[in-house]
C-alpha cells in the first residue's frame, strides 16, 4: 500500500518526501479534528456523570 503510493507520487525523491509528509499531516488532521470528535461520544471512556 505504502510502496504503491510512493511509486505513484510524481517528481524526484526530495519532492516525493515533501508530498509524503504533507499527506501524513492531512490524514492526522482529519483524524484529530473530524473523525475522533465524531467517534468519541459513542465510546464508553469518559462519562463522569451519574446515569
Amino acid at each position: 500500500m505504502y510502496a504503491w503510493i510512493w511509486r505513484h507520487l510524481p517528481g524526484s525523491v526530495p519532492v516525493k518526501v515533501v508530498q509524503a509528509v504533507v499527506l501524513v499531516a492531512v490524514v492526522v488532521t482529519v483524524l484529530l479534528f473530524v473523525v475522533f470528535p465524531w467517534v468519541e461520544p459513542m465510546l464508553p471512556f469518559t462519562d463522569p456523570t451519574l446515569e
Binding site: 484529530l32 475522533f36 462519562d47
Partner: protein, 276 residues
Amino acid sequence: MVTTTRIPAQSPPPERPSRLRPVLRGLGEVCITLGLVVLLFVFYELRVTSWFSAREQARATEQLRQRWQHDPADAEEPVDPVAGEGFARLHVPALGPDFPFTVLEGTDQSTLSAGPGHYAESALPGQRGNFAVAGHRAGRMAPFAELDELESCDALVVETDSQWYVYRVLPLRGEVDGWDPEQRGRRCSGVAPIGGPYQGVLGRTVVEPTRREVINPVPGQPRGTVPEQWRSRLITLTTCHPRYSAEKRMIVHGVLTKRYPKVADRPELKPPELGR
C-alpha cells in the same frame, strides 16, 4: 586430454510469482496503520481534548468575570445559573495549581468539555441540600483527575458573585468510628460524621454509575423524605473511576463549614482557606 565438466552457472530459482505476497504485505501495513491510529486516538483523548477544553474554560471564565463586574453582587439574591454558562468558581487548594475552575450549569457532554458541570436539579452553592458537580477524570483538562487524593477536611471552596463558601471533605471510610474533632484540630472544625439520615455518607466512595441517589438532597435518601430545614448543606463531586474508564463513579462529599461575604470594594480579599 583433459575433460572438464562444466556445470552451467545456475541462476537462482525463479521466484514463484506469488499472488499471496502483496496481499499479506498490504494486510500487515493496514494492521500497523490501525495501530498507529489507535495510538493517535489515545493522544487525542488525553491531550488534544484538553487543548479544546482549555479554550472553552477560558471563555467561560472570562464571561463570568465580566458578568460579575457589570452586575453588582446582591447577597440577598441567589445565583441564577444559565444552562451551559459559568456561574461559580471551584477552588481546591489541596489539588494544586490547576484550580480554580469555572463551574458551568448542566452536565451534558458539551458543557462538561468546558469544565466541571452542576447537576441542574441539585442545590445551588450554600443552599440546604446537595450542590452536586460532575467533572472529567481523564482528558478535557481532567479537572477531577486527582479526586482520589483528597483527604478528610480538605477545603472545597466555591466562589459565587457575592459569597465564598468553604466546604470540607467529610470523614473517610475508616475514620468515622472514633472521629474526635478535638484531636483533628482547627482545620477540621465543623467536620464530623453527620448522624440521622446522613449515616453512611462518607467523604469518598466508589459507586455504580446508576446510583444517582448520591446527588439527592440527602445522599442516598429518596427525594422529599427529609424536610428542608433538617437538611445539611453539602457539596458532592462526581467523576469517572477508575481513571481512563467509566465503569464506576468516584463520589466525594463535603459539608459547608464557613461562609464569607465578598467585599465589593476589596475584590482581592480571599478566604484564608485558599492560602497565599
